[in-house]
Each structure stands twice: as structure tokens, then as C-alpha cells.
Subunit: 208 residues, 2 copies
DNA sequence: TAGAAGTACGAACGATCGTGCTTTTTAGCA
DNA sequence: TGCTAAAAAGCACGATCGTTCGTACTTCTA
């Protein structure tokens, strides 16, 4: 569960710093080009260091990809999940999660929109393996978080008892995810307003 | 507009046949791996012919990509647009377009789900050029078709006069497109039911 | 302060990419 | 049944990919 890079075995301050710096840039590139388009040569020249020197930090491309996913996960948690935790349980927290994610997308914390939107569509039809598993695990964590928020809102009487949590989640993520994707394609930021309006109307219809 | 391959200059029957055969396989591969993942070597070995022999049909990778898009467009038109044209103008035709697209996705006419869903997410953050332009043009043709159907349904009194056509289109495409994408990721075909239910509810809310 | 371990570099590898150039095979018409 | 042009193959190229190896430089510790 906790992805923490606890292997503090052989690592010095300098190494940890450059490693973190590499992953920050890697997440940005991968949010645009995907985790396969994230090339070691490109990443190295972006950071003005040698391919081999960068490579030594990870030992394989797959390890770099996994570490990048972990770094992106941390950024997502810091910008979306944690701020929303301050809202009260039930509908307020659900709405906080939704607006936090939308403003995180609007702010383009990652260069290519939402990191996980990019890698999700990249791996939807690709070969299985540890990288795909890691992506799916993170996506499922988000879905679980959202389903719990919806269920909590139902129990609190904020949402209708017969509301289908999975269905609601699907619609919310479809609308916000598509807005982010299309915004990358044509630069039209008003799509976030469309997504927000649709989600708001959908939530109103599910309110008691 | 019409993509027809009218350059019948120097071309023999055999050449046209293999070319069509190449493009059929190419569209299938690209629907899974994307238009960059569509590699000439991979395509050649899939068809049991030489790289250079295949390459000669197009002269460049870009030309192959553009031809593949054209072939995919034809398949989409044959399976979605044309069947829906038999429905009456207004709401029936709009609903016919929606169900035709959903069943085209469900049937997995392309190996990787909807070809245009795949290439859209591939080129959302990628470099501009003729290939990206061709994709955008086809996507806009679809959107125009849908907006016209919605507007027609409004004029016929089937949908509320104050319904926002662009907003409605965004929501419909977001829901169906996401269903197709996620189905590729986890194999869950029930997502199409979720999309259909959401779209149906949304249309009901916009009905007079 | 000497030595060990972490950090970074340059060069080179096999593989694969798109793309030319040349040659051989094949199809269709006289 | 030949002749010709199209179709397909063969071969080789430069570039880039991930990866390995040997080697310097730096940082911390005994």
C-alpha cells in the first residue's frame, strides 16, 4: 500500500536529491508522452546529465517507470486527496474531492494534464506487467476513495439511499477525465465548466 | 472531404487488393497500439511480407498513417453513421446514432475498441502535423453530425428548446468514450450498460 | 587521513526504427 | 507467348532505443 521508498540502504543525500529531481521531470514528461514515450535519453538531456548516470539510479527502465508512478501518486495525493480531507464527511467531502480534482486538472500541475489520465489511456490495450499493475492499483485506490465518500453521503442522508455509487462514480470520472483529455487536444478550457455543470446536475438529481 | 483513393494512375488489381489488406490490418493494430505504435516491421511480419515491399505502397510512414485513418473512417461510417441514417429525423435519429456507436464499440469491430478513441488520446498532447489534423477533422465531422441531430430534435419538438447541444454532445461522448476506454483496460463489458443508462437518463431530462 | 562506497560519465553493444537503393518476381496486355 | 511496368523482396544506412562496462570524481566514515 504505502509506496514509501524505504530502502535507505545505500543512498546518500546527493543521490536522493537528484533522484527526486529526476522523478519530478519524469512525471511531467510522462504526463505528456506517456510512460513509453518517457525515454531515458530525452530525460537525461532535459536534466543535462548523462544517460548512463541517470540510468544507474534505477537499473532498468521498468524501475524508472514504477518510481515515476509513485512520484506522480504523491503529487496527486498532495494536491487532491489531502486538501479534500478537511471537508466534513458526507456530501461536502465528496464535493470537495470533485472540485479539488477539477482545479488540479485546470491548474495543469503536470505538463500534460492529469498524469493518470494519460497513462490510463496508454495502457488500456497494452501488455500486462508490473507497470500496468501499479497504474491499476492507483486508479482503484482513487475509485475506492470516491465510492466511500458517496456511500458516506448516502448514510448521512445527503444523497438518496437508492443511488448507485459505482454508477455515480463512473459518470463523475468520465466527465472530468474527458474534460482533461479534450483540453489537452484542443486547448479549450471551457470543457471543465461543461464537466462541472454536468456533475453538479447529476449530483442534484441524486440528492434527497 | 471524400477520401476516395482516386489516383488510379499506376495501380494494378493486385496492388489495390494488398493495399486494402494492409490498411485493414493497420487499422486493427493502430486501434490497440496507436498510430506511432503501428510499426512498419510489425505490420509487415503480421502480413507475412517484407518491410520494403509494404513500405513501397505508401512511401512514408506518415502516408501510411493517413491512409490508415482514412480506412478507419470508412469502417466507422459503414458501421455507425450509415445504419443510423435510416431512422427518422429528430430524436429517433439521435438515439439511433448513440445506440449504433455503442453497439459498434461493444462488437469490437476494431481489435482495440474504438479506433478514434485510441488515436484521440494518443495525439492529445503530441506534436501537430498532418496526422493530427486528419484525426481532428474526422472527430469534428462526428461532432458536427451529432450537433445537427440534436438541433434537429429540438426543432422537431422532441427535445427542450433550451437544451444546450454542445453540452449534451460533450456528455454523451464522454460517457460512451470512457466506457470503451475502460472496457479495454479491465475487460468489464458492463460499463457500456452504465454509459447507456446515464445517457438515457440525460436525454430524458432534456425531453419536453 | 586513508579507504570504501556512492555518484556520474563516456563509449559501445545489439536491436529496432523509418527509409533509401537495387534487383528479382509477377501480373496483365499486345 | 513475350514484353513491360507494377509489385515485392533484399540489403544497407543512420538514428535512437535500453542496457552494460570500465573508469573517474566525490562524499562519508573508520
Amino acid at each position: 500500500m504505502s509506496v514509501d521508498t524505504s530502502d535507505t540502504d545505500g543512498r546518500r543525500a546527493k543521490g536522493r536529491r537528484t533522484r527526486a529531481q529526476i522523478l519530478e521531470t519524469a512525471a511531467d514528461i510522462a504526463s505528456v508522452e506517456g510512460l513509453e514515450g518517457l525515454t531515458i535519453g530525452r530525460l537525461a538531456s532535459e536534466l543535462a546529465m548523462s544517460k548512463s548516470g541517470l540510468f544507474a539510479h534505477f537499473g532498468s527502465k521498468e524501475e524508472l517507470q514504477l518510481a515515476t508512478i509513485g512520484a506522480a501518486r504523491d503529487i496527486f495525493a498532495r494536491n487532491v486527496v489531502e486538501p479534500a480531507k478537511e471537508a466534513e464527511r458526507g456530501l461536502p467531502r465528496l464535493e470537495a474531492l470533485i472540485t479539488a480534482k477539477l482545479s488540479y486538472m485546470r491548474a495543469e500541475i503536470f505538463a500534460g494534464g492529469c498524469f493518470f489520465e494519460t497513462v490510463r489511456s496508454e495502457f488500456d490495450s497494452r501488455e500486462p506487467g508490473p507497470v500496468r499493475d501499479a497504474i491499476e492499483a492507483d486508479l482503484q485506490d482513487w475509485e475506492q476513495l470516491m465510492v466511500r465518500a458517496i456511500t458516506s453521503a448516502k448514510k448521512a442522508g445527503h444523497l438518496r439511499a437508492d443511488a448507485d455509487a459505482e454508477q455515480l462514480l463512473f459518470e463523475i470520472d468520465a466527465l472530468s477525465g474527458t474534460a482533461s483529455q479534450r483540453h489537452q487536444l484542443n486547448g479549450d478550457a471551457s470543457l471543465y465548466d461543461r464537466a462541472e455543470a454536468a456533475i453538479r446536475a447529476r449530483l442534484r438529481a441524486a440528492t434527497v
